[in-house]
């Protein structure tokens, strides 16, 4: 990286995130005023957006080429009090907690105390959401059976396609006007459509105004700038901001800036999960890159510098502050923008790897940033050289890029009912979940704690932690006469909690559709304009909903232990096992050893355990897949954890697999920590036993000792391992290349290891930024050694 990028990177990395009240103040001012008097919800939200875009500070950092911040400065993190208003205690925690803290100044605290909290208390969506949930729902939520994504943040997981590179906002506005003109006044939905179009048009004007304010600012700075080179850059930035996103971009620089304005708009409108994401950036940029080179207006170095400046913009925007369970399930500054490279071309299904794909890998390798995250899509048609280049970047130990199987992703998207063409424009986002880019509202609604559900099945639905009857009565486990009886009890518990979660989701989806529409997001996601329907209300072409399953490794090992020891070998009774678990294995060390070391475990290519993993997956699939949501979409299955496996472990007692109370549960579809002893091929064989094509994504984490990737030949073999997993139908795999020793040293001396990046789940993070429990958990994940 050059001197400019190096300086911008340093500033970005070294600035501590802090809370900015700018957005909270503007929004409070708006709602206190009569601007939205008598307006519909969607027009009100458009006016809120306009108010923000017209009044928030414009910030151009010294030396940067891509401009625009969400807050008034890099790392100045806004809040979204209309969704979740932090109280003074939340602010104290945010300021003082050890990990993912945000500096909260006295001034911020004062403004919250005097202006923000008094206005929003009692009016937030969060409060309304919780008040709409049943007692049973609350009991399950409090017990940690599931989490709720929408209690502090808005539905998101949206990824852009190529539309903003082909057309400008004014083209979208023209289309809106056309559709508006065609509304049949006798149509029952005509008023709603009218309002939606009105709102979208307001948002488009607001974005153009916002970009114009950046152009003005750049010109103003150019006027004051003594350095001729920088003055020219600023004038060029002004020109770019006058052009995009109002009009389609004409070159590489304009393309990146156009995306960035759209990105900022989405994350200013609402605090969407997984922020926003340009999707298949190498595909979008290729034509601009080639054109620039051909015309002589762009060099490779300039393109790379612009990309690196673009990378820094992502890193300047930490995930909005989370508290409570939401922080527990997603304790990271990373906001999950996952940039895709590789895969297949949408038009003809041919190899899509291009020069920009390789350049992006180079940028990832040089920048070593946690945001944005990058992945490669690999199909059987992609060249081995590209995969091996990616493996070289993986070897550097930054946990990026993660690797996805395009051939299976296409099957997954077809399974959700997409057209082949739409499936080919898709890919993963966030951690691992797939969607059809630019045309889907793919909503993740919360994690579900399978190990906790197993615990409840072992305790007749009562939660040993509280004594409360959290689940249905499915029988005393000590009386079970067969493995099937236990499995049936588990399935019944699972069904109950899935129903409970869907019952809640049905209300929450309507809450967002009715009260918190997203008119700007609706502009950029097909087919909201064509349908005249909001993104939160089924406007997107595809609208699947997910409840993310967690702990397949743990539950499989528990079921295997009972089946093997209690019902087959009969060396143990169910009663003994329950007693030992209730005692957290104190005084049952030999029994625990039997469970830990002499029981078939998932992750070892052992048919005994893996067949159970299949059963566990199928039970979840049968109960969830294909159920209707309120937006015309279906529920789908995905298996990923972010950081929730730590929280889910903390609320779950000792289990039949020998896991002690409070210890993390397994993450993604990875084996229980330290329980895989047959090497990486065995892990991926086990992981491929479930049918990934019927999911919307699975997450497999592997930790490699750097020695295992010491030379070109072993890099090649890693690439073969990945291809082998993908040939078996695996969806995704990612690697931490680091020794347990290095991690322990970093734990002891965090100050010396600030730059150490590791892969947590579907994302990378600075090791010193994550909690001690998670650090310990990562250390115990089996490190694949050299044989």
């Amino acid at each position: 990286m050059n001197e400019r990028v190096s300086r911008l990177r340093k500033e970005s990395v070294e600035t501590r995130p802090y809370i900015s009240t700018e957005r909270a103040e503007l929004i409070t001012e708006f709602y206190k005023s009569d601007i939205a008097e008598g307006k519909s919800a969607v027009v009100t939200r458009a006016l809120v957006f306009k108010h923000l875009m017209e009044n928030k500070a414009v910030c151009i950092n010294d030396g940067e080429l891509i401009v625009g911040e969400r807050g008034p400065a890099p790392k100045a993190t806004p809040t979204y009090p209309e969704l979740c208003c932090h109280d003074l205690e939340d602010l104290r925690i945010l300021n003082s907690r050890k990990k993912t803290s945000f500096v909260v100044s006295d001034e911020v605290r004062r403004k919250y105390k005097e202006e923000i909290i008094p206005f929003w208390s009692g009016r937030t969506l969060r409060e309304k959401l919780f008040s709409l949930m049943s007692d049973e729902w609350h009991r399950a939520f409090d017990a940690g059976v599931f989490t709720e994504f929408m209690e502090q943040r808005a539905p998101g997981h949206a990824i852009l396609d190529d539309k903003i590179y082909r057309e400008g906002m004014l083209d979208f506005k023209r289309r809106i006007t056309e559709h508006r003109g065609r509304i049949d006044p006798n149509d029952a939905g005509s008023y709603a459509k009218e309002q939606q179009y009105e709102a979208m048009a307001i948002c488009i004007d607001a974005v153009i105004t916002f970009a114009g304010r950046y152009a003005d600012k750049a010109e103003e700075l150019a006027g004051e700038c003594g350095d001729a080179r920088r003055r020219a850059e600023l004038l060029h930035i002004a020109e770019v901001c006058r052009r995009v996103p109002a009009h389609a971009p004409r070159d590489f620089h304009e393309a990146l800036q156009a995306y960035w304005f759209v990105h900022l708009s989405v994350i200013t409108e609402l605090n969407t999960w997984d922020s926003f994401n340009p999707g298949r950036l190498d595909q979008h940029l290729l034509a601009f890159y080639e054109d620039g080179l051909a015309k002589g207006t762009l060099t490779r170095e300039e393109a790379k510098e612009l990309l690196e400046c673009f990378w820094i913009k992502f890193n300047n925007q930490p995930a909005p502050p989370k508290v409570g369970v939401t922080e527990e399930q997603s304790g990271t500054y990373t906001d999950f923008a996952l940039i895709n490279t590789g895969g297949l071309r949408a038009d003809d299904g041919s190899d899509a790897v291009n020069e920009v794909s390789y350049m992006i890998l180079e940028v990832v390798e040089e920048m070593r940033l946690t945001q944005p995250s990058a992945c490669i899509q690999i199909s059987s048609k992609n060249p081995q050289a590209f995969l091996e280049r990616a493996c070289e970047v993986i070897r550097t130990g930054i946990g990026q890029p993660s690797v996805f199987n395009t051939d299976v992703i296409i099957k997954e998207l077809l399974h959700d009912g997409k057209s082949l063409a739409d499936a080919r424009t898709g890919g993963p986002s966030g951690c691992v979940t797939v969607s059809s880019f630019g045309k889907e509202s793919c909503t993740l609604t919360g994690y579900i704690n399978w190990p906790k559900i197993f615990e409840l099945a072992c305790n007749n639905g009562a939660d040993p932690a509280t004594g409360l009857q959290t689940g249905p009565k499915t029988g005393e486990a000590r009386d079970f006469m067969s493995y099937q009886q236990l499995f049936d009890a588990y399935s019944k518990q699972l069904e109950y909690f899935i129903n409970l979660k869907i019952e809640g989701n049905n209300r929450i989806e309507r809450l967002f559709a009715d009260e918190m529409p997203a008119p700007f997001m609706s502009v950029v996601m097909d087919d909201c304009i064509a349908k005249g329907l909001d993104y939160h209300n089924g406007g997107a072409r595809y609208n699947p909903t997910y409840i993310q399953g967690v702990g397949i490794g743990t539950v499989t090992d528990c079921l295997a232990a009972v089946k093997y020891h209690v019902f087959e070998k009969q060396t143990l009774t169910m009663n003994e096992l329950l007693k030992a678990a209730a005692a957290d294995f104190a005084g049952y060390e030999s029994l625990r050893n039997k469970l830990l070391n002499h029981t078939p475990k998932y992750g070892n290519d052992d048919d005994y355990a893996d067949a159970i993993a299949e059963e566990v997956f199928e039970a979840y699939y049968r109960l969830l897949n294909g159920r209707d949501n309120t937006k015309g979409g279906k529920y789908r299955v995905n298996l990923l954890p972010t950081t929730v496996h730590i929280y889910f472990g903390a609320v779950t007692g000792a289990l039949a697999n020998g896991r002690k109370a409070g210890a993390p549960v397994s993450e993604g579809i990875s084996p229980s920590q330290g329980c895989d002893s047959k090497g990486p091929t065995a892990v991926v064989k086990s992981a491929s036993r479930i049918d990934h094509a019927r999911t919307g994504g699975t997450l497999l984490n592997m930790k490699f000792n750097p020695q295992l990737l010491a030379d070109a030949e072993s890099i090649e073999k890693l690439a073969h391992l990945i291809r082998g997993y993908f040939a078996l139908g695996g969806h995704h795999v990612q690697f931490n290349v680091i020794t347990a020793k290095t991690l322990r040293r970093a734990q002891e001396k965090p100050d010396e290891n600030r730059e150490l990046i590791i892969r947590v789940a579907g994302y990378s993070d600075y090791f010193v930024d994550i909690g001690k429990e998670l650090q310990d958990e990562i250390i115990t994940r089996t490190e694949q050694q050299v044989f």
Partner: protein, 326 residues
């Protein structure tokens, strides 16, 4: 199992080959580990099957748990919680406490395995078990998808696989029948006829050369090198695919003269293109400590990267492809 004192080796070997063919999947042998994703034991992604029992007694031995052919008890002391249950459980009175840690009398232990099931820390283990060819091949076949993807296969290593050549031949036949590329990692210390029979059935031979001087070889490994060098020549003359592997043991075989002699020997062989040099590592000492029977190994410094690179350069200058670390 093969016994070394057979009066007529040729006859014995043809008999054994016949048994191997006829017995097929039910031939039994002693194995102490099967490692998957072995990436340093031949081309591609491989599964390495470690045979128990070795005719050599190298002072630096990397796999001391492979020396003895019979199963043997071992203890991972770090995992032991010193509960003493194994002492109480043992029907042979083979286990006693020694400063809190259980010490197992390898002579009395029958490897019944009861103490292993009961050990709370999972500290006790038995190294080695009897497996049939069918059982081994079932494990090997699990990674066929990766062999196909990477051009890999199975490697039979040890210990010394040639010591159980009936078992080895049956495994090689099965591998060929299942179209799995099979390599044999060997000391080449075996009767010429055994080597011939194995050479015929294996796709690749990884042949160790530890020292070119027979007296030094005897001093550090317990046997002369004549048979070994002869066998390597035999394999090459028969047109077998051979890779030479040289463990680099500082102070024993890393001197210029020996490296030069090794290079000269390798160059005299027809068809050998590649030499792998494997740096000494101390894993063997760690593993030796766990064995109840106890094996004393010498303490050696690991060779520096610089040293390894300079040895590699010497072999390369003779026109060999060289890989550090196999």
């Amino acid at each position: 199992m093969h016994s070394r004192d057979n009066s007529n080796p040729a006859e014995h070997i043809s008999e054994a080959s016949a048994t191997a063919e006829a017995g097929g999947l039910s031939v039994r042998g002693s194995v102490f580990d099967i490692k998957r994703y072995a990436i340093h034991d031949g081309p591609g992604i491989r599964t390495t099957v470690f045979f128990k029992g070795c005719p050599l007694a190298c002072q630096w031995c990397h796999n001391p748990e492979s020396r003895q052919s019979a199963p043997e008890p071992a203890l991972r002391a770090g995992r032991c919680i010193r509960c003493g249950q194994c002492v109480e459980l043992c029907r042979q009175d083979a286990v006693s406490l020694d400063g809190g840690l259980p010490r197992t009398d390898a002579g009395r232990c029958t490897c019944c395995g009861e103490c292993i099931e009961a050990c709370p820390g999972g500290a006790r283990e038995i190294i080695g078990c009897e497996k049939t060819v069918g059982e081994v091949m079932a494990e090997v076949e699990k990674d066929v998808v990766f062999y196909k993807q990477s051009g890999g296969g199975v490697t039979f290593s040890g210990g010394e696989p040639l010591c159980q050549f009936e078992f080895l031949l049956a495994l090689l036949s099965e591998s060929r029948a299942r179209k799995i590329h099979a390599a044999v990692d060997t000391t080449c210390y075996a009767e010429a006829e055994v080597v011939d029979a194995v050479g015929e059935k294996a796709d690749l031979l990884l042949c160790d050369i530890k020292h070119m001087d027979s007296a030094r070889h005897r001093e550090f490994t317990g046997v002369d090198n004549d048979l070994i060098l002869d066998n390597i020549r035999r394999l090459c003359r028969a047109g077998r695919e051979v890779v030479i592997r040289v463990p680099i043991i500082p102070g024993f075989n890393d001197d210029q003269a020996n490296i030069k002699a090794t290079g000269r020997f390798a160059a005299s062989l027809c068809g050998v293109e590649r030499i792998d040099i494997l740096p000494y590592n101390r894993g063997g000492n760690e593993k030796a400590k766990r064995l109840a029977a106890g094996i004393d190994l010498v303490q050696i410094e690991t060779p520096t990267d610089k040293k390894m690179r300079s040895i590699a350069a010497k072999f390369r200058s003779r026109g060999f492809k060289v890989k550090i670390g196999g």
